[in-house]
Amino acid sequence: MAKKKIEIVRRRIVGLLLTTLLVVALFVAYANTFPHYPRHPYLTGWLLFGVMLFLTFFNLRKKIPFLRFGSSTFWLQLHVYVGLISGAIFLVHSGFSWPHGWLNQIIATCFTIVFVTGIIGLWISREFPKRLTVAGFETPFERIPHVRNHLRKEAEALILTGADGQTSPVIADFYTKKLGLFFTRHENFLSHLQRSRTAQASHQSQFDEMMRYAKKNEQDLLNKLADLVEQKHLLDYQYALQVSLRVWLFAHIPLSYSLLILSVMHIIVVYSFSGSAP
């Protein structure tokens, strides 16, 4: 285990060091060399465009797993480090200031969102799988509605059958008022993301209260129902984290393509109005 951790840390340190080195070199060049070279935005602009093309290519690489282009893992690592460097190039290109003009501002906004969602996505991709593994009740995303439906049917069957063949009105009322909706939809999305157990604790105290009014065989029924509620919480947890693992991509990928299109427009505009551009 120790060796494994050391190897991971070593690889990350090397990657981060190289990235930092490149970023520092860029900033040093910006401070010392670029003032003597007024057309540097053309250089950094083309560099940034090239880097963005490269970063976008990662998504295409994933769509062609049948070609020998290096492993997807290697491409993801490159994507992460080059993505970090692209942020520094963007800062240098924009002269560390928010751009003027609506097109440039849209581009800057798009870039910022893509960059930030990338960072968030990276964190989510590294953090959430471990949480899901620890939580248990692993369920494929597509099967979550089916499992939820199954849990609901099991809970309803428990209530309808009752403790001794007859539905207890107290328990039925409890189910209808407190648990009916809970079993029919995903709940506590944000609190699951925050790893809060407030909702579980709330249900637990409700069950504790119900136990006071239940007969012995009704208590067994409530215990079974509590198990189903616990499973539903785990399912909601799986749902919240698995949605998060996917949803950031819905901002990151479309905006990356939009950014490329906007950048082409930006290049056309720049060359149309720059006169004696190189």
């Binding site: 797993p65 049948f66 997807s72 991709s125 995303f141």
Partner: protein
């Protein structure tokens, strides 16, 4: 009394008890043919009174044998195929091709056709929009038997075998029995060399029963085995590789052949798993019990065994061992070094499913084993002690939980199992999409399966070392590729019987209802849907290897050989 009878009738319903001979191997087998067979050797010399009334010789012949006729050049069995039948030559002759082997293409096999560069790219837009479209021209169809007759002919047979060394077998000769009984691949190709060669095909069950009740046939098959397979097996082991011809003969005579467990173990295993009893070793036949006097070594020829020892009130699995492994060697070698050390087994050996072993008694071992090599090996082959709590505590040994998990689910059978590190897997399903994109839009595995700690063994074909799915395939559609050894299905010859899916202990084969390009379900003349068996083929048509592994950006998925625990523990400890 009457009342209780009435109650009983409400609880039970009379039904015919299922019996062994529900179906004949050959529906055309008649009493007249059985009479004819009883006139042939070895049946003519058999004493029918030795057979119990439940399994008489006549019935075995009627239900478990079939008379097959082959023409010159027609292949009876092919080298490396898995078969469950043995053959007796009734009339005519067959040639056993010894060396060089016949060109695989002439045998109806060819290297899996890899897709070219353009064809690979075309998968981006050429895949069918409808699921499970049956495109007869789309898959490798040259890696299996001819679809028309279920047989393969060698055209211009004399010329094809003119450069090969062959052994001719005439009337009364048997072949194929070792492969059928020990579930190993065929070791040679056998071709009919005379017109209208008549062979009697035995199912392995029939052969097993006849051997059980007729000592002469058992002795004959044992002799063939000792002369051919056993000598070859023993001479390849460093313990005995130094022996001369005479010594081998003596050693082979001393060796005992042992078979444990069910031949088709998947059915029994599935029942155990369903009842939740697969995790206990109580149902596994004991080969050697811990504490028993060790009177020899057990060499595993085929199948798997669980090695365990007593721990508290139960037993803890230390390892599972497969073909080529030896049990009991460490203790005996230690005893040679220090004669005061007791010769008791320190572990229990159980058969997991099915196991075929060779037992070498201590006396033969002392006489023939290479002691110098044996003493050099001391300490190298000892079993690692699994840790109780956590595999991360040590870099060497797998956790006890992991060992039990692997044995309970019988994952030790997989040579290319899909293992997923759930701490890294983002559940993005890029692997599933990659699989679909390389299989005409249809994923061939489920990213779901049993989990232990952060390890998931996904529901994908493991390309087993002991592919029980191949037992009983009536057309040979499911087969191993000649080159990589992957277990693949030829959709053109698959008749959709579902035998492979039912046999697979891991539920990795799915029966699908095939469709036309327009998405219409294909049905037969009775309007029953046409089914095909589907599973992971390890991307044999792709040059870049398995798409699932290539597509995972988080290094969370691997195809790993689980027949030994080391590759898995190394992968879990990677990077």
């Amino acid at each position: 009394m009457a009342k209780s009878d009435t109650n009983l009738s409400t609880l039970v319903r009379q039904a015919e008890r299922p019996h062994r001979w529900e179906q004949q191997l050959d529906a055309n087998m008649t009493e007249e043919i059985v009479d004819m067979l009883l006139g042939y050797e070895p049946f003519a010399s058999m004493d029918p009174s030795r057979f119990p009334s439940g399994t008489p010789l006549r019935e075995i012949l009627r239900f478990d044998t079939a008379v097959r006729t082959f023409d010159t050049g027609e292949i009876v069995i092919r080298k490396d195929d898995y078969g469950t039948s043995a053959y007796l030559v009734l009339d005519g002759e067959v040639d056993v091709v010894i060396r060089p082997e016949i060109d695989p293409r002439l045998l109806g096999r060819a290297p899996s056709v890899k897709k070219g560069f353009i064809a690979r790219f075309a998968q981006l837009w050429n895949n069918n929009r409808e699921p499970e479209v049956w495109n007869k021209k789309s898959r490798r169809s040259n890696d299996s038997y001819n679809t028309e007759s279920g047989s393969v002919y060698l055209q211009d047979y004399p010329r094809v075998v003119s450069g090969s060394q062959t052994a001719t077998l005439g009337a009364g000769s048997m072949f194929g029995e070792i492969s059928a009984l020990s579930r190993m691949p065929r070791t040679a190709t056998v071709v009919a060399s005379s017109p209208n060669t008549r062979l009697l095909e035995f199912s392995w069950e029939g052969l097993r029963d006849i051997m059980k009740y007729d000592p002469a046939l058992k002795a004959r098959i044992d002799k063939i085995y000792r002369e051919n397979s056993l000598k070859s097996f023993l001479s390849n082991h460093p313990l005995f590789s130094h022996l001369d011809e005479h010594s081998y003969r003596e050693l082979c005579d001393a060796a005992q052949l042992e078979t444990f467990g069910d031949y088709n173990w998947s059915g029994a295993y599935k029942r155990l798993a369903k009842d939740g009893n697969a995790s206990t070793s109580a149902h596994e036949p004991i080969i050697v019990k811990e504490g028993d006097y060790l009177n020899g070594i057990h060499m595993i020829r085929a199948g798997f065994c669980r090695v365990s020892h007593k721990y508290g009130g139960g037993e803890r699995t230390l390892n599972y061992i497969g073909a080529g492994s030896v049990f009991g060697f460490e203790e005996i070698a230690q005893h040679w070094k220090n004669t005061e050390q007791s010769l008791q087994s320190t572990h229990t050996l159980r058969s997991l499913g099915y196991a075929h072993l060779i037992f070498i008694p201590t006396a033969a071992l002392e006489k023939f084993a290479n002691r110098k090599w044996a003493e050099q090996q001391l300490g190298k082959v000892s079993l690692p002690e699994p840790t109780i709590a956590d595999s991360d505590e040590t870099d060497e040994a797998p956790s006890a939980g992991l060992m039990e998990f692997m044995a309970e689910h019988r994952f030790l059978n997989g040579t290319k199992s899909m293992v997923i590190d759930m701490d890294r897997c983002t559940r993005c399903d890029d692997c599933v999409r990659a699989c679909a994109s390389t299989h005409d839009g249809n994923p061939r595995f489920l990213r779901h399966g049993p989990i232990i700690d952060n390890l998931m063994i996904a529901n994908a074909c493991m390309h087993c070392i002991d592919p029980v799915c191949m037992i009983g395939c009536p057309t040979g559609a499911i087969h191993r590729t000649s080159f990589g050894g992957e277990v693949v299905i030829n959709p053109d010859t698959c008749i959709g019987c579902g035998a492979c899916a039912a046999n697979c202990p891991y539920d990795s084969i799915r029966m699908v209802e095939v469709r036309s390009k327009k998405g219409q379900f294909l049905v037969d003349e009775d309007f029953q849907p046409i089914l095909k068996a589907t599973k992971c083929d390890f991307c044999v048509e792709q040059t870049s290897g398995p798409a699932c592994v290539n597509a995972c950006p988080h290094d969370a998925l691997s195809r790993t050989n689980l027949t030994r625990i080391t590759p898995l523990t190394q992968w879990l400890k990677r990077k």
